[in-house]
Symmetry: C2
Subunit: 140 residues, 2 copies
Amino acid sequence: MERVPVLKIGDILLVSIQIDMEDQVALQLQEDLADRIVSTGCHGVIIDISALDIVDSFVGRTLATIASISRVLDAETVVVGMRPAVAITLVELGLSLPGIRTALNVELGMDLLARQRAEEYGDEDDEDEDEADTPAVTAS
Amino acid sequence: MERVPVLKIGDILLVSIQIDMEDQVALQLQEDLADRIVSTGCHGVIIDISALDIVDSFVGRTLATIASISRVLDAETVVVGMRPAVAITLVELGLSLPGIRTALNVELGMDLLARQRAEEYGDEDDEDEDEADTPAVTAS
């Protein structure tokens, strides 16, 4: 059976969908992703659909389900790489992918996830930089 | 026609091969990758083959060709995610993928590329940190 691989990059799981989303493939992907989120502790999932010519209602529903599962496991999902024609067809079909965040490409998706994570938990890196910028001054 | 997407992540292009590598798909991938290396100026290419059950001589040759094209364009190629069974079959077939670097997964592949790049060109980040550690002192 064909299977969509889940790639771990830093704190993010990346899925590039290239094959037809049949029932079994979609179910397997949901299971694999949930397992990987739990085993890796990743907080972000990026799903690249730049290879897809068509996103029908089944694929739309699968993406929404994945996003919901991830959210329950404390991971945000961003769908990236949607082609312009796909976006037009989706809206014409009355599917606007409610509850799914999107970004133009993988890098912007990673930025979005990092920004969101920083807002939620406070950016610890910034504090370190602030300390470096204002060194302690000792009077002599 | 099916097409393998090329994803840009920082200084690296990521390709996840999931579909059968027919002639046209392989040629298109070589062309797309060469175009993206030139247009983005990326210095590393990671090809994930964790979805492949079989790597035959044609796929092996395609990977070698991609690595050669990339090298001419000043980008290193790392093949990642090979399944144990695939590695065994490859060697039994007498294919040991000469000239192709491998890593266990995408993250280790990225580390390998970053380390190699740092060795070749010296690590510029280190210099910045050194400057921050030794602030200029002005006598008053």
